[in-house]
């Protein structure tokens, strides 16, 4: 049996996990399901694409590193784009969500995020057209790892990058003052506020982190597959499924949930074909809500 699909599932799962961290943090700290989160992935990727081609034009050449299909322009652009995506999330919060937050109706915020997602995605389509774009059109040679599994250098790099990002995030949430404050607000916002936690600062940090990680996930998808205005929207259901499966508010849960969703999708493609791939996340979601609505690491309310 060819185990290649597991490797492909893990790559997809890693990037779903990265994106789901933002979903789970916004859900637990700001207390609403953000339907515009997929758009952060797409916008982050297009920011990266625009900056990278700008660098390429300014300094010439694509500057590829070793066996990778991309080089320092994409890496530097990705870092700047992560910042920009975080700022985009902050601006959206300032213009929209902050104004609705004090009305105390979470579901109106969900609706606003739905409208914002539609507008942001169509704006991308207006600016860049619906034609797919690529960071690189070169075809990479995959080399064997073990058990007949082959990975490209890009895939190895991205898996390592995800592992590092997740470890840093986990330690950050556990140890840093702002990470602790974020967990406090997610547990009990009123109590956190009276204990002197700056809730506004926590909210800003949540958007910055969620936006930056969404950008990383989007760039991963852009490198391994392609760049389209709908790329984030199409990933939204897997993101929600991963966040709920892992347990709302749990960073390791979101990543584990992402890996499970990614591998489940890849395995299902082996059995039923690629046509119904997008339905797998939906089935996982229904199963979790039926069996264990709190998720793997979640606590029952």
């Amino acid at each position: 049996m060819n185990l290649q699909f597991i490797a492909d599932g893990l790559i997809m799962g890693a990037l779903i996990g990265l994106g789901a961290i933002g979903v789970t943090l916004t859900y637990s700290i700001l207390r609403f399901a953000n339907f515009a989160h997929g758009e952060f992935l797409a916008w982050g990727t297009y920011f990266t694409l625009a900056l990278a081609s700008g660098f390429g034009a300014m300094f010439g050449g694509s500057g590829t590193i070793g066996a990778l299909s991309f080089g320092w322009p994409v890496i530097v652009a990705g870092m700047l784009a992560a910042l920009l995506t975080g700022l985009l999330a902050l601006v959206l919060d300032r213009l929209l969500f902050a104004k609705l937050r004090n009305r105390g109706n979470a579901i109106v915020m969900v609706m606003a995020s739905f409208g914002a997602s539609m507008a942001l995605r169509s704006l991308l389509e207006f600016l860049f057209t619906a034609q797919p774009a690529y960071f690189s059109r070169d075809i990479q040679m995959a080399f064997p790892i073990a058990f007949g599994i082959r990975l490209t250098p890009d895939q190895l790099f991205l898996l390592a990058m995800t592992a590092i990002l997740v470890l840093v995030m986990e330690r950050f949430m556990a140890l840093s003052p702002i990470g602790r404050a974020m967990r406090a607000v997610s547990e009990n916002p009123v109590l956190a506020r009276v204990s002197g936690v700056d809730v506004e600062r926590v909210i800003r940090a949540t958007w910055m982190i969620g936006g930056a990680l969404a950008c990383a996930a989007g760039v991963m998808l852009g490198i391994t597959v392609q760049i389209r205005p709908f790329m984030g929207f199409d990933l939204l259901l897997p993101l929600f499924a991963a966040a709920i499966l892992g347990g709302i508010g749990s960073v390791p849960g979101a990543v584990l949930g992402g890996l499970i969703v990614g591998v489940a999708e890849a395995s299902a493609v082996q059995v039923v074909g690629a046509d119904y791939r997008a339905a797998i996340a939906f089935l996982i979601l229904i199963a979790v809500l039926l069996v264990r609505p709190a998720g793997i690491f979640g606590v029952r309310e």
């Binding site: 859900y27 609403f32 399901a33 339907f35 929209l96 104004k99 609705l100 979470a106 579901i107 109106v108 969900v110 609706m111 606003a112 739905f114 409208g115 914002a116 997602s117 539609m118 507008a119 942001l120 169509s122 704006l123 389509e125 207006f126 057209t129 619906a130 929207f233 939204l236 259901l237 929600f240 499924a241 709920i244 046509d275 119904y276 997008a278 339905a279 996340a281 939906f282 979601l285 229904i286 809500l289 039926l290 609505p293 309310e301």
Partner: protein
């Protein structure tokens, strides 16, 4: 002149069919506060159910029972309502946003089935030759459109009347009580979850009916009719018209569909071919921004929620 009349009737039939979807959404959101992101999915269930039952037999596709149109309408309501009851039973006992996420998921799943289950849904090419109401008049467009307008007008009026009665009934008051203060409603012995499931199923059944009405007016359905843009348009209609108000739902439907059609016609007339896809994207940006702005600036919409009390308490 006659062309204009035919177009006006055509426009109103389409707008009213959206108005029916809005009436369904108003039961869910306006009365009960349930956020359904899968409106297009429930409309699609109705349209496909009715199409399968009423079309003539086709080789290589399931269905084609050639039943009368009214049977298709009723079946559309039943199947959409049952699907919603199932989803509602799973999610409505949990956090409110889970309904939004699950309905978003079901719309995607239905879209996949419509695209890929060719023996059931005809795949990307959809289903054609759906019997049209007053199909015998098809070669005289003015009379055909006017007859359909009369039919859809009657359906809309009946629904409007029925829903107005319903929201003023004890059942409707329980829905609003649950929406405003679930604990208080529960302490009066109301099973909040059960009422929510009922309201969600009723609203989705109405959406299914609208799907069938549209299918039997146009005579052709395809998966790309039921994408998230439709859900989004219907939401814009209800919010702009005024959620919690059945007249607002209908007014919003006619207004937004009118705006959509006018901007669409202007784009087609003045924007060169290669830029049309981009301009259409801009159309959605504008409506999305308008919806978000309205939620911030004037959440009650044009008409706003109507204050409703028991008809026995008037004056």
């Amino acid at each position: 002149m006659l062309d204009l009349l035919a177009y006006a009737a055509f426009f109103l039939v389409t707008a009213l069919s959206y108005g029916i979807i809005c009436l369904g959404l108003n039961v869910q959101w306006g009365q009960t506060g349930l956020f359904n992101v899968g409106v297009a999915g429930f409309v699609a269930i109705g349209a496909y159910t009715s199409a399968l039952l009423t079309t003539p037999d086709v080789a290589g596709r399931f269905g084609g029972f050639g039943l009368p149109i009214w049977v298709g309408w009723i079946a559309a309501m039943l199947v959409s309502g049952l699907a919603a009851a199932f989803i509602g039973a799973i999610t409505l006992r949990l956090r409110a946003d889970y309904l939004a996420i699950t309905t978003f998921g079901i719309a995607i799943a239905i879209q996949l089935v419509a695209l890929n289950a060719e023996t059931l849904t005809g795949g990307p090419f959809g289903i054609g030759f759906i019997p049209r109401a007053f199909g015998g008049l098809e070669d005289r467009p003015v009379i055909f459109n006017l007859a359909n307008l009369a039919l859809v007008g009657i359906v809309t009026a009946l629904l409007y009347y029925g829903l107005e009665r319903l929201v003023r009934s004890p059942w409707g008051r329980v829905l609003r009580a649950i929406r405003e203060d679930e604990t208080a409603a529960a302490s009066l012995g109301k099973n909040a979850n059960l009422f929510r499931i009922q309201a969600f199923a009723l609203g989705s059944a109405i959406m299914g009916l609208a799907g069938a009405v549209q299918a039997h007016f146009i005579g052709f359905i395809a998966p790309e009719n039921y994408v998230s843009t439709m859900t989004f348009q219907v939401w814009a209609m209800l919010i702009i018209g005024g959620s919690g108000n059945n007249r607002g739902a209908l007014l919003g439907a006619v207004l937004v569909w009118g705006l959509w059609s006018i901007t669409g016609a202007l784009l087609a007339a003045f924007v060169p071919g290669e830029y049309q896809a981009r301009a259409a994207a801009l159309q959605i940006v504008l409506i999305g921004a308008a919806l978000a702005a309205l939620l911030v600036l004037r959440p009650r919409g044009i008409l706003g929620e109507e204050k409703m009390i028991s008809r026995f308490l008037k004056d």
